[in-house]
């Protein structure tokens, strides 16, 4: 994740509070910062938990605002649908492309061109495949935080098979 660039066309004329590219640059810098300050244990796995918890906190707060004018959600699926459509649109200017569920608390949210990955490689390029999980940790936390505030405790992980598409898996904790 050395140089990211943003297509100027993609970031024009919408209703966000600040221009979207600001978020992309800030996110990139946060990822860099967290990676340089985290204690490197020499293992292959990078420590992305701080990114994830930042995302949690942001998601928790964001949902309070987004659902303010919203009618009450009927059930869990209704809530996840909201996440896939309106929540995703307000953050990444597009909807989730594919939602799957086993109806037992596991949801798979697929985005075929995820915003934060779109700028590092397209069309199934494998070049940055190893680095891409660090761009997803924040969003995993974001999902977890927003669902937590909506009363759905869960764990979220992400997988990338080919850039720029990725899948977020939501596992709802049943008590």
């Amino acid at each position: 994740m050395k140089h990211q660039f943003v297509d100027p066309k993609s970031s024009s004329g919408n209703k966000g509070e600040a221009d979207e590219c600001l978020f992309e640059y800030l996110h990139a810098e946060i990822v860099n910062y967290v990676l340089t300050t985290s204690v490197n244990t020499g293992e292959k796995e990078e420590d992305l938990s701080r990114l994830e918890s930042m995302g949690f906190s942001v998601g928790y707060r964001i949902i309070e605002r987004l659902t303010r004018e919203w009618p009450r959600f009927k059930d869990e699926l209704d809530t996840i649908k909201f996440i896939c459509t309106d929540f995703w649109t307000s953050l990444y200017q597009k909807q989730i492309d594919n939602l799957r569920t086993n109806h037992h608390g596991t949801y798979m949210l697929q985005d075929n061109s995820f915003r934060l990955l779109a700028s590092i490689g397209g069309n199934g390029s494998k070049q940055y495949l190893r680095e891409s999980p660090r761009l997803l940790a924040f969003t995993c936390g974001l999902l977890r935080g927003s669902l937590a505030n909506l009363g759905i405790p869960c764990t979220v992980d992400a997988e990338v098979a080919a850039l720029p598409s990725c899948k977020f898996n939501v596992y709802v904790q049943r008590i």
Partner: protein, 138 residues
Amino acid sequence: MAVCIAVIGKDNSPKYIRCVNDADELKFHYKVHTAIDIIEEKLNLGNKIANDVRELFLGMLYSTEDYKIYGYAANTKIKFVIILKSSNATLRDNEVRMIFRKLHAAYSNAVCNPFYTPGDQIRSNSFDSSVMSMMGII
């Protein structure tokens, strides 16, 4: 004007309570927490019947000789309760709804403060002052 405004968290713990007379606070604590039962009842009823009212505003929960108690539950399971004097006939349902809207907006601003830990009690001056203005204290 309202005599008491309260915010109740997800787990029914009091997040914030403000009344006109600080001396009456305990009394209102009881009243607010009695209202939670009715809120829960209304929310759970919604799960069974599909075409229910899905509005966040729950209307009047109950009234006693002295007070009328209104409720509002956000999507995030946060409940707001407003207590009016029964003798107060100037405030209609619609106006109470507007107060709840304002309260919800003020609450979400307070939550968006990065120094606020979710789940804590609300100790924010700006939230305080907006609640006070809703109650007509300042």
